[in-house]
């Protein structure tokens, strides 16, 4: 049982409590980890956890089996997911009805419930242990490992696994300069997108005059399809707090702020609980662990705008002003929150900090490249077989992520492109798959690291249409302050939209490219500066597809509605008329021979007829 929350006054007290918690590390104790993250919750993890609890009360009155509702376990494709220890058995698509069997087997430690195991698609064999599933096997889960084991609502769980040891080490005898030295040696770079060296940012802030400085954690995470930061905050919030504490110590700040988007209610609740627990135990507040160092953290909830993830906009939003970026310099390290020197880092950046202190910089940077130490979490989504949270060292080839970890393209289709870095990232083609994921390599290929979104597209995707989609997103999310971004993105969208509607010309492509380069060059903040990436990268790698749209008025992937039509194949049509009944546009009628015909002038290309046709007679042409 957890000891009552009592403020630690000295490091020795922490050590004593940690010793008393050693039982929690007992690897032989049966334990269930049910993923409580959004994906699994949507698929019924709540009901499953309740059912398991109910069964446990009946079958295990002594409480031998431990149940943890954890943060994201990673393999979201298989939601809801359960892990059983010892053994780390991985159960997939678990239903509440499976609870009885799961608990029984776990109590008896009789091995896994075979029917819930993952089947390897290549060999057709069941795999029991999570670590042997290709999705996990090819990863290096240093940060995400805790998500398997830690109950995010219980600070003692974090303590038992060595939590706050890094803080103890820092307070117990490292000077701020030494902390910075470790970060430098570790080659830690910001995970929020730009990849700025963290030590440099801290150094800039530390050497600024002024007694009041701030540490801000950027947890805005506005990229559609990205949830790395949320998974860390919901799975292991104390690691982020510890990272912020160490940053505060290093730069001489006494106040930290987490700017967290309101659209993450679970993360808000868990982080709030974590902050309160840390405060009660004396990891936050005045005179932390008797060291004289004072630091406290508050949470500011954002109102959900992509641009508020940009650091200067975020700071303004945290101050209670309109979330609009301003021109840099001055950088936040010089003049940030309330005009004071401010260090602003991403959630994942902070989560890496305790790891570096604990392991030592040299061991930490064993993973990674010459320029970037450690691992990076990606959100692998789109047309891959295994979507989910993926953690790999910097320098891992894209091919490994998409094919070995992601398991290749859904439905055996052909790979077409992978977009890295969120809506303003670039689309990389097949020939770039051997690229190593690192800031410089991706930038050289015309894309960005961004915060780690990775969207895989298959042959059925039209890159022109995808570009239009991202431009539309960026147009809506642009704050509108600077002309280049507001009007430039809008005009790029106008041109690309025209191309998808069959109204484009080759001059349009030249104009588009010219405009994109200017928007990239002259925009005020990162949003506009990167907004051209989807355009420029697709023009670079998929020009032939653009040319098909403008020259032949043809959409090779048959996605752009103005550039293909549906047709009924007379040889296959059975004359059942289902298509005509379903068509809301009234575009389908019976022909003289009892077969059906589609009027392309009336048809709005919704595709309902294709679904309705039992004979697969309706095709695109």
């Amino acid at each position: 049982m957890a000891p009552a929350l009592k403020r630690f006054a000295a490091p020795e007290e922490v050590m004593k409590v940690r010793q008393s918690l050693e039982g929690r590390l007992d690897g032989n104790r049966p334990r269930l980890a049910i993923c409580g993250d959004t994906g699994c919750t949507v698929c019924g993890a709540d009901g499953l956890a309740a059912a398991v609890k109910e069964v446990m009360e009946r079958k295990d009155p002594a409480g031998r089996l431990e149940l943890k509702v954890t943060g994201c376990l990673g393999f979201c494709e298989q939601a809801p997911v359960v892990l059983v220890f010892p053994g780390a058995y991985f159960y997939r698509k678990v239903k509440a009805a499976d609870a009885e069997e799961i608990v029984e087997k776990a109590l008896l430690q009789e091995g896994p419930v075979a029917r819930l195991l993952y089947t390897d698609p290549s060999s057709g064999k069941k795999i029991a242990c999570a670590g042997e599933i290709p999705f996990y096997r090819h990863q290096e889960r240093v940060l995400l490992d805790a998500n398997w084991h830690v109950n995010p609502l219980d600070i003692y769980d974090y303590l038992a696994r060595g939590g706050y040891a890094a803080l103890l080490k820092v307070l117990g005898g490292m000077s701020p300069g030494e902390v910075l030295g470790e970060m430098k040696e570790a080659r830690l770079r910001g995970r929020g997108g730009a990849g700025f060296y963290t030590w440099l940012k801290w150094e800039l802030c530390r050497t600024r005059a002024g007694s009041k400085k701030y540490v801000i954690c950027n947890a805005d995470e506005g990229d559609p399809g990205a949830f790395m930061d949320r998974s860390l905050l919901e799975g292991n919030p104390h690691a982020v707090l510890e990272g912020m504490l160490i940053a505060g110590y290093a730069i001489g700040a006494v106040e930290g702020i987490v700017y967290l988007r309101t659209e993450y209610p679970t993360a808000v609740a868990k982080l709030d609980q974590a902050v309160r627990q840390a405060r009660e135990l004396g990891f936050l507040g005045e005179d932390i662990l008797g060291s004289g160092f004072a630091f406290d953290i508050s949470i500011v909830r954002g109102a959900g705008a992509f641009v508020c993830g940009e650091e200067t906009a975020l700071i303004r939003a945290a101050e209670g002003k309109v979330g609009e970026p301003r021109q840099k310099p001055p950088f936040p390290a010089e003049s940030g929150y309330r005009g004071r020197p401010t260090v602003i880092n991403n959630v994942e950046t902070f989560a890496n900090v305790p790891l570096i202190v604990n392991r030592g910089a040299v061991a930490y940077r064993a993973a990674g490249t010459e320029n970037s130490g450690g691992t990076k979490i990606f959100c692998l989504v789109g047309k891959v077989n295994n979507s989910g949270l993926v953690e790999v060292p910097f320098g891992t080839p894209l091919r490994k992520i998409v094919f070995d970890i992601g398991g290749g393209i859904k439905g055996g289709k052909r790979f077409k492109a992978v977009q890295t870095g969120g809506p303003s990232g670039g689309c990389l083609p097949e020939e770039k798959l051997d690229l190593r994921v690192d800031f410089e390599d991706l930038a050289g290929a015309g894309s960005i690291m961004g915060s780690g979104g990775m969207i895989v597209m298959d042959e059925d995707t039209c890159v022109v249409d995808v570009t239009r989609y991202f431009l539309n997103f960026l147009k809506d999310e642009s704050c509108g302050k600077c002309f280049s971004c507001r009007v430039g993105v809008d005009r790029m969208l106008e041109i690309v939209g025209g191309i998808t509607e069959g109204a484009g010309s080759e001059e349009d492509l030249a104009l588009l490219e010219e405009l994109a380069l200017v928007v990239k060059d002259t925009s005020m903040c990162g949003l506009g500066q990167t907004a051209a990436n989807p355009v420029l990268s697709t023009l670079r790698y998929f020009r032939s597809e653009y040319l098909a749209h403008v020259r032949e008025k043809r959409c090779p992937a048959k996605v752009c509605r103005a550039l293909f039509r549906y047709r009924v194949d007379e040889d296959l049509c059975s004359g059942c008329g289902f298509c005509a009944r379903e068509c809301s546009a009234g575009a389908i009628g019976e022909g003289p021979d009892g077969l059906y015909l589609i009027d392309p002038a009336v048809c709005n290309r919704c595709g309902v007829c294709v679904e309705a046709c039992a004979s697969d007679a309706i095709t695109k042409e």
Partner: protein, 230 residues
């Protein structure tokens, strides 16, 4: 004093000034739409961009917001900058052809065509009026509402504002409505009437808009400019 390189010349500048101010001091004219002496720099029109740093690794930044630093290397009219400025002016013309200031700027930069679909949005959201109202008139009657392409200048909740004293300061500084283009083909995107004037007049005129207005452009009496192009 700070020492920096401006278009290849070593110059000494007062510390704390912006690149734009320093350039003006040395007679280098950088076009602006959202800058006005006496108002805080805002960095929205992007026309004042300059290249900073050594060629190859140079970055583009707005000179109105960038303060001078020792050893700064600035090019105010490099090919990269001019290309960007011309494109921006083309975009401005495509949105707001009725502004004489923008038309003059187009002629001045030899922007002679507009390749975008013509729109007629009078406001270019330079924010001069908002800053004028707040910083010089202590009014704070107007501000920005919405975001992205829906952004607009308005009073709180679009209601008649008690804070507004109808001083007209906002209109006085507005580059879009302060003076209307009276050129012969003003309903088209590019007027360029001034380009047909003799070279000597042209140079003179680009430094004094008032003269341009008073002059009768070639090709008869000035056409009346309509508000929405139709």
């Amino acid at each position: 004093m700070v020492e920096m390189t401006l278009n290849g010349l070593m110059v000494k500048v007062e510390e704390g000034t912006t690149i734009l101010e320093a350039a003006a001091f040395y007679g280098v004219n950088i076009p602006t739409l959202c800058y006005l002496e006496g108002l805080s720099p805002y960095g929205a029109c992007r026309l004042c961009v300059v290249e900073i740093g050594e060629p190859g690794s140079a970055k583009v930044a707005t000179s109105c917001t960038h303060r001078v630093e020792d050893g700064l290397v600035v090019r105010t009219h490099s090919a990269r900058v001019m290309k960007a400025r011309r494109m921006l002016i083309e975009l401005y013309l495509a949105s707001c052809p009725s502004s004489k200031i923008i038309q003059d700027m187009a002629s001045n930069h030899h922007v002679t065509r507009v390749r975008f679909k013509q729109r007629h949005e009078d406001c270019i959201l330079c924010g001069l009026c908002v800053r004028m109202c707040a910083e010089q008139m202590q009014g704070k009657a107007i501000g920005f509402a919405w975001r992205g392409s829906e952004r607009k200048v308005t009073t709180p909740f679009d209601k008649k504002s008690d804070a507004c004293r109808l001083c007209g300061g906002c209109m006085y500084v507005c580059p879009a409505c302060r003076s209307r283009c009276q050129g012969p083909q003003a309903e088209q995107a590019v007027c360029n009437a001034c380009l047909n004037l003799p070279q000597t007049d042209r140079n003179y005129l680009f430094f004094d808009n008032a003269v341009c207005e008073a002059m009768e452009p070639p090709g008869g009496a000035p056409k009346k400019m309509t508000n929405r192009g139709a």
